[in-house]
C-alpha cells in the first residue's frame, strides 16, 4: 500500500509522526523504533536558550492519562543545532522541529536561525508551539488568542523557506478552536497540529497537595482522545483543505484511523511512546491493515470520511420489520 501523505509541498513516507516532547532527542527512542521509517520525528519544543524547566514531580498518572508540567526544559537552540539535528540527519530521519518562544520576536529569531543553519536539511516541517506562555501578555498562552497565535505563525512563516510547511500546534483550552485555526491559516500556516494537552490537576492522596510541582499540568494519553478528535473534526469542518496532524492518545492503528476520518492527514503518537517506545511500527502496520480491510488504497482515502452525511455511509442491510407484526 502507498502510505505516503502530503503536507503542503512536502511528501511524508507515511502518516505516522511522533508528538513533540515524547521522543527525547531521538537517540533515546532509536533503540526501540526505527526513526527513519517514521513519517517524521517531531522534536521537543526548542527554545532560544537552555531551560531547566520545572522541578520534579513533573508527571502524574491519571486514569488513562498522564498529567505533565515540564516547563519546556531543553538545551536551547545552539545545542540543538550542534548536536541533535545533525544526529537525526545522520540517521536519515525526517524531522519536524517544534519551536517555542516567550515573545513573537523570539519565535522569529529561532525560525530564522533554523532556516539559516547548515544542519537544516532533514527538516520537513516547523511546528509552532503556540501553547507557550507569552511574556508580553502576562504569561497568557499565545494559543488563547487568534491575534497572538496569528502573529507568531506569521513571524515564523516569514523566516522559513516557503517549501517547508509551517504547522501551528493548537491548544484545546479555548472557547472556539476553529477561530484560532482560521487565524493561523490566514497568517500563512501550511497546516495545523491538533492538539496540545488540556489543562488539568491531580491531587496526591498522601500529601493532600497538588501532585505536580507546577500545580496544574497538561493531560495527555487516551483520556484526551475524545477531545482531540472533536477538535480535529471541528477544524476540518471549518477549513476542509487545510492539512491537519491529529493526535492525542493514539495507541493503536484503529485510533489513528479515527483521526484520519475525523479530518487529519497525518497522526502523531506521544504519550504512548513513554509506555511503549516500540509502538509506532505496530500502529503503522495496524493502520495499514485497517485501511486495507475497508478497501482503501491509501491513507488519503480515509481523510474526512466521518464528515459525510450519514446516508452516504455504508448501507447495512437490516431486515425490515413492519409495525403491524408487533400489534
Amino acid at each position: 500500500m502507498d502510505l505516503s501523505t502530503r503536507i503542503g509541498a512536502v511528501t511524508l513516507a507515511n502518516p505516522l509522526l511522533t508528538a513533540s516532547g515524547c521522543g527525547g532527542t531521538g537517540r533515546e527512542l532509536s533503540p526501540y523504533t526505527d526513526l527513519a521509517r517514521l513519517g517524521a520525528f517531531t522534536t521537543a519544543t526548542v527554545m532560544g536558550r537552555p531551560r531547566a524547566g520545572r522541578p520534579t514531580p513533573r508527571i502524574a498518572e491519571t486514569p488513562s492519562g498522564l498529567l505533565n508540567a515540564m516547563g519546556l526544559p531543553g538545551p536551547g537552540l545552539d545545542a540543538f543545532l550542534a548536536r541533535d539535528l545533525p544526529w537525526l540527519a545522520g540517521h536519515d530521519v525526517s524531522v519536524v522541529v517544534s519551536v517555542g518562544g516567550s515573545s513573537v520576536q523570539e519565535f522569529a529569531e529561532i525560525a530564522g536561525r533554523l532556516a539559516a543553519s547548515p544542519a537544516a536539511r532533514p527538516i520537513v516541517g516547523v511546528e509552532v508551539n503556540v501553547a507557550c506562555p507569552n511574556a508580553e501578555d502576562r504569561g497568557r498562552m499565545f494559543a488563547a488568542s487568534p491575534a497572538a497565535a496569528a502573529d507568531v505563525v506569521r513571524a515564523v512563516r516569514g523566516a522559513i523557506h516557503r517549501d517547508v510547511p509551517v504547522l501551528a500546534k493548537l491548544s484545546p483550552d479555548v472557547t472556539d478552536i476553529a477561530t484560532i485555526a482560521l487565524a493561523c491559516a490566514d497568517a500563512g500556516a501550511t497546516g495545523l497540529s491538533l492538539i496540545n494537552t488540556v489543562s488539568g490537576l491531580a491531587i496526591d492522596p498522601a500529601t493532600l497537595r497538588p501532585a505536580l510541582s507546577g500545580v496544574a499540568g497538561g493531560l495527555s494519553g487516551p483520556a484526551l482522545r475524545p477531545v482531540a478528535l472533536r477538535c480535529v473534526y471541528q477544524v476540518h469542518a471549518a477549513i476542509p483543505e487545510l492539512p491537519i496532524i491529529g493526535g492525542g492518545g493514539v495507541a493503536t492503528g484503529s485510533d489513528a484511523l479515527e483521526f484520519l476520518v475525523a479530518g487529519a492527514t497525518a497522526v502523531s503518537v506521544g504519550t504512548t511512546l513513554l509506555h511503549d517506545p516500540s509502538a509506532p511500527q505496530r500502529i503503522l502496520r495496524e493502520l495499514e491493515e485497517a485501511l486495507a480491510a475497508r478497501g482503501m488504497a491509501r491513507p488519503g482515502d480515509a481523510v474526512g470520511l466521518a464528515h459525510r452525511p450519514a446516508s452516504a455511509g455504508p448501507q447495512i442491510a437490516r431486515p425490515r420489520t413492519r409495525i403491524e407484526e408487533f400489534s
Binding site: 515524547c22 521522543g23 527525547g24 533515546e28 527512542l29 533503540p31 526501540y32 536558550r49 537552555p50 531551560r51 531547566a52 524547566g53 520545572r54 522541578p55 520534579t56 514531580p57 513533573r58 508527571i59 498518572e61 486514569p63 488513562s64 492519562g65 498522564l66 505533565n68 515540564m70 526544559p73 531543553g74 538545551p75 536551547g76 545552539d78 545545542a79 550542534a82 548536536r83 510541582s213 494519553g221 487516551p222 504519550t271 504512548t272 511512546l273 513513554l274 509506555h275 511503549d276 517506545p277
Partner: protein, 272 residues
Amino acid sequence: MTVVAPAVAERFRPGQFVAVAVGGEHTSLLARRCLPVYEVKPDYGGTVEFVFSADDPGSRWLASRRSRDALDLIGPLGRPFPLPRDPAACLLIGGAHGSSGLFALADALRQRDCKVHFVLAAPHAHQVYGALSAQRIGDSSTVITRDGSLGTAGMLPDLLPGIIDRTEADVIYAAGPTGLLSAVSGIASALGIPCQVSLGELLGETGACGIGVCASCVLPVIGDDGHTRMVRACVEGPVLRGERIRWNDLGTIPLDALGGPRAPQTALEAAP
C-alpha cells in the same frame, strides 16, 4: 518477583534497572514502573529478579501476576555501578529494601577479589532487607535499626565513621532512601572516600518511561566543569557519584543550574 528474560539477564550489570508496564494490555496506567534488579541467574534460560513494594494500583497489579503470565519489560537500563579496577575494600550500604540492588554488586566485587562489607540500615527490623544474604556473602555485615529491633540500635550517620574505620573501606556503594544516600555521601566526601549511590528510589517515584524520553526524573548534578545541570536519573543514573548530587536541592531547580532562573546564559550542552 522472578521473570524469565534471557536477553536482560545476559546484558545486566549491577546497578541497572528494568522498566515494567503495569495494568495489562488495555491498561489505564501509562507510566512504567522503574524497578532495581536484585539478581539475575542463568538458570531456566535466564531469569531476572526484582523487589518492589505493592503500594499503588500498578504495583499491586504486578504483585498479582501468576506464573506463566507475560510481562512487558524493558531492560537492563541505566548506568551500572562502576567497579574498582584493583582489589579494594568495599562498603555496601543499603537502606530498607533499597539494599536489594546491592547483592548482584557484591557478587561482581567478589569476582574481582574485593572485600565486601555490608551495612543494612532501616527504622525497624521488618524493613531490613537481605540480612541473611549479607551475612552469607559479606566479609562482615552490620545491621542497624533505629529502635534496636534488629542488630545495633542507632542512626547510620552516627555509626558510619566507626564502620568505615573498622573495615578500612576504600570505596562506598549505597542504595536506599535519598535521606540516607545524602548522609552517606556527606560522610564519604568528608573522609575523601569515593562513593557511588543508586537513586533507584527517586527514579521509582518520579520516572515514567525509564528510557530517557519523558524527562520527568531529573535532579540537579554538578558536572566535571563545575556547572549544575538537571540530569535524568534513568539514563545519566541511577548510579551517580554521591558528591556530585546537590542533595539539599532535590525536587527544585537550583537558581544557578544550567537553564535555571539565574544561570549564566551560556550555550553549554545540557547533558554531562
